[in-house]
């Protein structure tokens, strides 16, 4: 089994199941912080999906998507944490 087939037939379904599990925590999460952690995990999983898809299609362009996703994810998480902390101070 060459890596393209492996990425498309094994890695992608596993990552899809992982996305569903993280989304379940996003829906269920009893707290706002749980939901922020779930959003963070979903973003990181999509970085992994971009990398796996770059392998599956021989397109290096998807790694650019992963770079942009990593940067936006960090900024979003920091902003969420900052505003949660400020909201509890008032």
């Amino acid at each position: 089994m060459n890596p393209e087939n492996l990425a498309l037939n094994v890695a992608m379904p596993v990552l899809g199941v992982s996305l569903v599990m993280a989304f379940a925590r996003l829906v269920r999460g009893p707290n706002l912080v749980d939901r922020v952690v779930a959003v963070d995990l979903i973003g990181t999983l999509s970085i992994g999906i971009a990398g796996v898809y770059a392998v599956a299609t021989h397109q290096a362009v998807f790694l650019d998507v992963a770079v942009i996703l990593a940067m936006l994810l960090f900024l979003g998480t920091i902003a969420f944490a900052y505003f949660i902390e400020r909201r509890t101070e008032r």
Binding site: M1, N2, P3, L6, A7, V10, A11, V14, L15, V17, S18, L19, M21, A22, A24, R25, N31, L32, V33, D34, V36, V37, A38, D40, L41, T44, L45, I47, G48, G51, V52, A54, V55, H58, A60, L63, D64, A66, V67, A70, M71, F74, T77, I78, F80, A81, Y82, I84, E85, R87, T88, E89
Partner: protein
């Protein structure tokens, strides 16, 4: 040979990311969920990107995946720390089996000050094992005022 190495790396990374989402689904506590996801996803993304770099084998791909791994390794601990701090300060409940909460009674959530000794003047008498220091006086309004020295 290169393809085998890339396959192993991709499978390792995917497994780690699956374990991370298993952790976020099954762990009982915000802090445990954070602990499970932050470390596992860092390694998972690193392995996946290493697999992509080994498989595609171009200098552009390698440098981009190295940049992604470096960025993730730098930012994930910072983001996890900030989320955990926000969770603790917003009063997220700890798991009921938590043994040690070292900030309990020592951290002023309102003014973000850390005291080296418990803030209440008297500790409750240690009858059953370990004495639990009381909550910091200014943190919760409904807590009873701390008992003075009798």
């Amino acid at each position: 040979m290169r393809e085998i190495a890339a396959s192993i790396l991709i499978v390792l990374g995917t497994t780690l990311m699956f374990l991370a989402s298993l952790g976020i689904l099954r762990m009982p506590d915000v802090f445990m969920r954070l602990s499970a996801t932050a470390k596992a996803t860092t390694l998972g993304v690193a392995f996946t990107m290493a697999g992509a770099a080994v498989f595609l084998n171009e200098i552009g791909v390698s440098s981009r995946s190295a940049a992604i791994v470096l960025f993730i390794c730098l930012t994930t601990p910072v983001a996890g720390h900030m989320i955990a701090r926000a969770a603790y300060n917003s009063g997220a409940p700890l798991w009921k089996g938590t043994m040690v909460d070292e900030l309990r009674g020592r951290y002023d959530r309102r003014h973000h000050r850390l005291e080296s000794h418990p803030a209440a003047p008297t500790l409750p008498p240690a009858e059953s094992g370990e004495a639990v220091p009381p909550e910091f006086p200014g943190n919760s309004e409904d807590a009873p005022s701390h008992p003075g020295p009798a």
